[in-house]
C-alpha cells in the first residue's frame, strides 16, 4: 500500500486558495490539498515553498498554466524528486476527483487528473 498522496496547487494570485476553498466547501475535505501563490516569489522562492510544503511526501503538484513561473518552479522541483508528479491546467473537477483517489502513485494520479479534468471541459448544448 502506498502512502496517501498530498496535492499542492500552485497558481497566480489567489486562484489556488479559491480552488482549495471550493473543494473544502463541496467535499468537507480539509488537509489533502495545500494552496500556494506565486505572489512576491521568484522561481527560487517558489521552489523553497514547495520543499517546505511537500517535504518527502509523495505528491501531485497542480499548476494553472502550461508555462510561466508556477510551472517553471514546479518543474525545477520535480527534477530532484521522483515521488512528485506535475499537472498543468488545474481545474476544480480534477481536484474534486483527486481528494477521493489519493492511494496510487503520483504519476497515475496525475494522469487521472488530466483525464478527469479534461472530461469536465465541454461546450454545453442549450
Amino acid at each position: 500500500m502506498s502512502e496517501t498522496l498530498l496535492g499542492v496547487v500552485v497558481t497566480h494570485g489567489d486562484l489556488a486558495r479559491a480552488l482549495v476553498d471550493a473543494v473544502r466547501r463541496i467535499t468537507g475535505d480539509d488537509g489533502s490539498l495545500v494552496a500556494m501563490s506565486n505572489d512576491g516569489c521568484g522561481r527560487d522562492g517558489l521552489v523553497q515553498q514547495l520543499q517546505l510544503a511537500i517535504g518527502d511526501w509523495p505528491c501531485v503538484v497542480f499548476v494553472d498554466l502550461p508555462s510561466g513561473s508556477c510551472l517553471q518552479a514546479s518543474a525545477t522541483y520535480l527534477r530532484s524528486h521522483a515521488n512528485v508528479a506535475l499537472v498543468a491546467g488545474v481545474n476544480l473537477a480534477m481536484l474534486l476527483d483527486f481528494v477521493y483517489h489519493r492511494n496510487g502513485t503520483p504519476q497515475a494520479a496525475a494522469q487521472r487528473a488530466v483525464d478527469k479534468g479534461g472530461e469536465a471541459v465541454r461546450a454545453v448544448p442549450g
Binding site: H12, G40, C41, G42, R43, G45, L65, S67, G68
Partner: protein
C-alpha cells in the same frame, strides 16, 4: 531601434512578459540573457513553453548578448531583452550602451527589502542600479504596461 525593452525580471519568460508586454509592444523576439540558462537545455525547454507562436526566442550568454546587441538594434524584429538579476544587467551594461531599463520583477530574497510589491532589492543591488543611473542608464520599475513607471529615486528604503 528594435530593442524595444530591456527588462530585469527573475521570472524571466512568464505571463506579464509574453502576454502584457509582448502583445502591447508587438514583440517578435525575446532574447534571454543568462549564462546558466545558456548552458542548460532543459531550462531552455522550460522557458520555450511560455513563448507564443510567432515570437522567436534566443538564449544567449552575457558575452553573446554584447556581440549581438547592435544587430538586434538594427534589425526590424522588435526585441525584448530579458535578464534575471541586477548582476547580469550590470555586466551587460558594462559592454553595451543601454539607455533605458525596466525593473519588472525582483522578488523576496536574502538581504532584500521591499521597495514595491514586485521589487525587492538588497543594498548592494540598489548601489549597482545607482551606479548605472550615474552612467546615463534611465531606470524605472513597471510590472505591466498599464501601470505607472516608478523612477529609481522612489525605490529607496
Amino acid at each position: 531601434m528594435s530593442v524595444i525593452l530591456v527588462r530585469v525580471d527573475d521570472r524571466l519568460i512568464h505571463g506579464q512578459v509574453v502576454v502584457a508586454w509582448g502583445r502591447t509592444e508587438r514583440v517578435g523576439r525575446i532574447a534571454l540573457v543568462d549564462d546558466v540558462i545558456r548552458g542548460s537545455a532543459w531550462e531552455q525547454d522550460l522557458y520555450r513553453l511560455g513563448v507564443p507562436d510567432g515570437v522567436d526566442v534566443v538564449f544567449v550568454s552575457v558575452a553573446e548578448a554584447a556581440s549581438a546587441f547592435a544587430e538586434w538594434q538594427e534589425n526590424d524584429r522588435r526585441t525584448l531583452v530579458l535578464v534575471g538579476n541586477i548582476e547580469t544587467l550590470s555586466r551587460l551594461c558594462a559592454t553595451v550602451h543601454i539607455p533605458q531599463v525596466n525593473l519588472g520583477g525582483l522578488h523576496k530574497g536574502a538581504g532584500r527589502t521591499e521597495r514595491l510589491p514586485y521589487v525587492f532589492l538588497s543594498d548592494d543591488e540598489e548601489r549597482q542600479l545607482h551606479a548605472l543611473d550615474e552612467r546615463g542608464v534611465r531606470i524605472t520599475a513597471q510590472d505591466v504596461p498599464t501601470s505607472l513607471p516608478v523612477p529609481l529615486s522612489d525605490l529607496a528604503c
